[in-house]
């Protein structure tokens, strides 16, 4: 069975998200939630002596930014049940306290797989995470699994 979707969806970049300001406090809360205790991420004095001279976020903070309200106008849904099947993240440069982060995303590919539990449609969304200087912070390939 071929998956039915509009091929023009592939590669079309969504609206860039509104910038999200990253505070040292937000990084601290994230660290507490994930159990991260490295002083470079949470203590200003230690961070100033460290390689980045300021508080930076642990790498996985990059996956916490959301695509926002436009997401499902660009990402097709197949069936009702969908879930997060996995992510591939390339970490380019750290997010620093004070950064303003935006996401631009597009559908990279759509494919079907048949497993033990039946047919599944995977939608891969690639997001590029940038800071206020336009520098790429991370590339994220996010695989959504749908059951048609």
């Amino acid at each position: 069975m071929a998956v039915d979707y509009d091929p023009a969806l592939i590669g079309r970049v969504f609206e860039v998200t509104d910038p999200v300001s990253v505070s040292a406090e937000a990084i601290g809360k994230y660290c507490a939630a994930i159990g991260e205790t490295n002083p470079l991420y949470i203590e200003e004095a230690a961070a100033k002596r460290g390689p980045y001279r300021t508080i930076v976020a642990p790498p996985s903070f990059a996956v916490t930014f959301r695509n926002g309200r436009h997401f499902f106008t660009h990402v097709p849904r197949f069936g009702s049940a969908g879930f997060d099947a996995g992510k591939d993240v390339e970490f380019v440069t750290p997010i620093r306290a004070g950064d303003k982060i935006t996401l631009s995303s597009h559908v990279k590919e759509i494919y079907e797989k048949t497993g033990r539990s039946g047919s599944m449609v995977f939608v891969v969304v690639r997001s590029t995470v940038r800071n206020q200087n336009g520098e790429v912070v991370a590339h994220i390939d996010h695989r959504f699994m749908n059951r048609p």
Binding site: T64, G86, K87, V89, F91
Partner: protein, 136 residues
């Protein structure tokens, strides 16, 4: 905190296992902190109404826990790439283990490849992945 040196690493070296009790409160805190405040990640009853056995851990959180394991081993700035597959439901209120092993070493690039996984107390690999890490 000891940061791993490239020259001291051998294929087969292990990361962890780091055993943690993943509490429901910790998962709720993560979900609320990260804008994922929806019933499947915060509330057993709400999760059951979606057909789940109870509240589940967001994939992003599982990935974050594995990234923390790698980051502690490699030192900040070392993690270049992490790819994960969320294979099974990570149910909070249980013990999990974060594990890893060195699978390749690139002398020219001074990078290593890792297999990483999050397993249940029974040893089932619920999240599996690979990572590339640059070491000093």
């Amino acid at each position: 905190m000891s940061i791993t040196k490239f020259d001291a690493v051998n294929i087969g070296d292990t990361l962890g296992p780091q055993e943690i009790f993943l509490s429901k409160d910790q998962v709720r805190t993560y979900a609320r902190t990260c804008g994922m405040d929806v019933p499947r990640f915060t509330d057993d009853e709400g999760a059951r109404s979606e057909g789940l056995p109870g509240m589940i851990t967001p994939g992003n959180m599982s990935m974050g826990l594995l990234a923390t394991l790698i980051d502690g081993w490699a030192g900040p700035g070392g993690l270049r790439r992490l790819g994960t597959t969320f294979r099974g439901l990570v149910l909070p209120g249980r013990t999990i283990r974060l594990c890893g092993a060195v699978t390749q070493k690139d002398e020219a690039a001074r990078t290593v490849e890792l297999d990483v996984w999050l397993e249940s107390d029974e040893g089932e690999r619920l999240v599996v992945g690979t990572a590339s890490v640059e070491l000093k």
